[in-house]
Symmetry: C2
Subunit: 209 residues, 2 copies
């Protein structure tokens, strides 16, 4: 039945490759048209397959979305790991620390659209809601210690709940990215709302040790 003796090497490799291609295509198509408006055939076409490939690898469009989100979350965390560990060693002025947030590039246009879609779906589907909250939790776990350490290196400490501080910074950053995208600009514009307000907010929620 589930014969998997010989083909473990080559065959499985190509299978994984088509899966990746389908996920890549799904990311692009979902970001472009939105999840609900996207068609399984849209995704397959973009990936250069027919629907046969899809049904051979996934059950439903929903499963495709879930796997895509999982993969993207892993990617994002990897990027955070790299950028944060690098930033932790620097001892630059506060404004530069804030700039580091931009260098993390958490959102490109596609990433933002996908994330916005996730938020929207999470409003309706409790299952996605918990996935969303788990993803945010993971991000906070990464970024919270970074913020605290960066402040401590400058003789500062948080005066509010770290979670509140993170959520506030994230909210402003996200609003900034959104505004830039809707205005047609680049998502991580350094002349943006975030560039002006994030340093002020950081100072507002911290005090000398």
């Amino acid at each position: 039945m589930k014969g998997e003796s010989g083909s473990v090497g080559t065959l499985k490799r190509s299978r994984l490759a088509t899966r990746e291609r389908l996920l890549d295509a799904a990311g692009a198509v979902f970001a472009e048209r939105g999840f609900a408006a996207s068609t399984i055939e849209d995704v397959c076409e973009r990936a250069g397959f027919t629907r046969g490939a899809f049904y051979s690898n996934f059950e439903t469009k929903d499963e495709l979305l879930v796997q895509l989100l999982d993969r993207e979350e892993v990617k994002l965390l990897e990027r955070f790991n790299a950028a944060v560990s690098q930033a932790l060693q620097a001892t630059e002025p506060l404004a530069v620390v804030v700039e580091r947030i931009y260098d993390l590039q958490p959102f490109g246009a596609d990433n933002y659209a996908l994330r916005a879609e996730l938020v929207f779906l999470a409003l309706k589907d409790p299952k996605l809601a918990t996935a969303y909250q788990a993803a945010r939790e993971a991000l906070r776990a990464k970024f919270g210690p970074f913020l605290i350490a960066a402040l401590a290196a400058r003789g500062l400490r948080l005066t509010v709940d770290p979670i509140d501080a993170l959520d506030t910074l994230e909210a402003v950053f996200e609003a900034s990215v959104r505004s830039s995208l809707i205005a047609g600009g680049s998502p991580n514009d350094r002349g943006s709302l975030a560039a002006r307000m994030l340093p002020i907010i950081v100072l507002a929620v911290s005090a000398p040790i």
Copy 2:
């Protein structure tokens, strides 16, 4: 051709009524399932009509959305007008001023979902993007003077661009509403991120005159 001599009174009134019912239904259905996933028949069914009523009153689903957004924006501005003019007369402590923001109740669950959908669609459709920006502009025009006056009445002035201040407050407020909704709570929870952070932010962007 466009005979409209006698029926101006009663007939048109009932026509407008079915239009309103369709718009009400559209607001509920779009918020519940999302615009793309919603069906014209869904909307008609919710309104208690068949599709005949829809095609007699609208051309496309897109037109329905645009008219819905127009109507909702008018409603929101009316609510702001009432609440703001009332709040302007009061001379309460700052925390209470912030609480007034909650009393404006800009977002219920449906309102938030609809707005999130609009943001999402605006990312793709330039036409909706300008509509979105116009709506925000109108809100800022209402709320900016209110904020400045409320601060002035307490001997404070803004130390940043008023637009930045407004956008920041809005971002945090929206993040707070979203978080409450996804967690399954009430949208305007007074124990929320916004309740804790908004006063701090207001102080951070203002100084004694």
